[in-house]
Amino acid sequence: MDLFKNVKNGFIEMIFGPRWTYIATVRTFLQNFLSITLADNKWADVISMAASELLENAVKYASEEGTKIQVEHKKEDNKLFLHVENFSYQDNIKILQKEIEFITSGDPQEVYLKKMQEAALRTDGGSQLGLARIRYESNASISFDVEGDLVKVTVIFDLK
């Protein structure tokens, strides 16, 4: 029983089936919660936007049940960790890996503009804009881990 021992850092965890209708609810909750936790309301907006984009992906590209979101505020480092996990197919995981490599390779604004120019020409449903948008709007670092079919995308916001 360590309920009251972990009060140093704020921590939220939610697990749900991959359903589109949960996304807005989670986004609104995070926005409200974080605007109390964090001094600057802008961060609550940016982080809830990022969570929403990541959850959209977790739902769109899920291969089976189970979506998990974790938000951890490391007060000492003044950083916030956002993790979203889902199961997916290997081809999507490969695309995700390439996307993350690309968008973290250059200046966030240039990368986002490039992705926008590409999006203009796309005729499929995808935008390939979500991850580039998160990086540009937050300047956060984005990474991911894979274990078999399980994907975990991590965004680290430097709240300084």
Partner: protein, 128 residues
């Protein structure tokens, strides 16, 4: 109703309304655009406006986002598709956009500024 006779878009969480203004037309976005696939809803609507604007030699389109609280990246894509239809047009058919953004809605300044960068010289952005 507007002079083009185009119906507004009304979804569960968002409305997009078209209205006549003195020097052109105004499109007002309200609510949250966060559906999984906004393209079938918005792309035909924007295309209708685009075609009528050209047919009627309208030169000014105002996009008012000040009441739009959320727009997902697929929604951003539908706007990109509209704006990039205008850039390759010959000079006599081109029209200008003015984007009205709300400084209290954090994503607007950043993402809407990028839309302006997509079509340099064509889009003016006003942040209130």
């Amino acid at each position: 109703m507007n002079k083009f006779g185009i119906e507004n878009v009304i979804t569960e969480k968002a409305t997009v309304e078209l209205a006549d203004i003195a020097n052109g037309i105004k499109v007002t976005f309200t609510g949250d655009i966060d559906v999984q696939n906004p393209e079938p809803i918005f792309v035909p609507f924007f295309e209708q406006i685009h075609n009528k604007v050209i047919q009627n030699s309208v030169k000014y389109v105002e996009l008012d986002f000040s009441k739009l609280t959320f727009l997902n990246s697929s929604g951003i894509k539908t706007l990109i598709k509209w704006i990039t239809k205008v850039t390759p047009l010959p000079a006599d058919q081109k029209y200008r956009f003015k984007i009205v953004a709300n400084s209290e809605i954090t994503w607007q300044e950043t993402s809407l500024k990028m839309l302006a960068m997509l079509a340099p010289g064509l889009i003016e952005i006003s942040i209130k």
